[in-house]
Subunit: 66 residues, 2 copies
DNA sequence: AATAAATGTCATATATATTTGACACAATGA
DNA sequence: TCATTGTGTCAAATATATATGACATTTATT
C-alpha cells in the first residue's frame, strides 16, 4: 500500500526508466509497486529522491501522517 | 546517519528492549544505529511506530526535509 | 571496588531482497 | 494490422539483511 506507482505516473516514466535511474532491476520496481516485497531503506531513499518526494509521502500511511 | 539512537534514548529504553518490542535481534538495532546496514522498509516502519515518530524524522535528512 | 546492565563486535547460519534472462499479454501508436 | 512499449510473472542465481550464541568492554548502580 505504498504510493510509488502514483508518483511514477505523475512523472510519466516507465518502470524500466525508473529502475534505470535508480540503478535497480525493473522487476524490483514492479514488485515494490505491487507490494510483493519489502525494499531496503536505501532503495526507498533513492525512490523518494528520483520521484521528487520524501519517505513519508511514499511509504507512511494513515493516521499519524504529519 | 539516522536518528534511531536519539529517539530511543529519548524513550529511555535499551537496544535490547527496543529489539524486543519490535521483534528483531538486538544486534539488528545496534547495527542500524551504527549505520552498518540498511534496514528493510518494514523494519523502519516498526521503528517509527515504536519510537512514536515517523519515517522522515528517523531517516530523511538534509535539505528537503518537510 | 564490585556487580550488573548496556553496548560493540565476531563468526556462522538462514531468510529474503535483488538480479538476470526470458516469456506472455495488454496497451499504444504507425 | 503490425510493431513497439509497458507490465506482470516465472525460475534460478547471488547478495545481503537478520538471527543466534558468545565474548569483551564500557557504562551505570550499589
Amino acid at each position: 500500500m505504498n504510493h510509488v506507482r502514483e508518483y511514477r505516473k505523475q512523472k510519466k516514466i516507465s518502470q524500466m526508466e525508473l529502475a534505470k535511474r535508480i540503478g535497480v532491476a525493473r522487476q524490483t520496481i514492479n514488485l515494490i509497486e505491487n507490494d510483493k516485497y519489502n525494499p531496503s531503506l536505501e532503495l526507498c531513499l533513492s525512490l523518494a529522491h528520483v520521484l521528487g518526494t520524501d519517505l513519508n509521502s511514499l511509504f507512511w500511511d494513515g493516521d499519524e501522517q504529519q
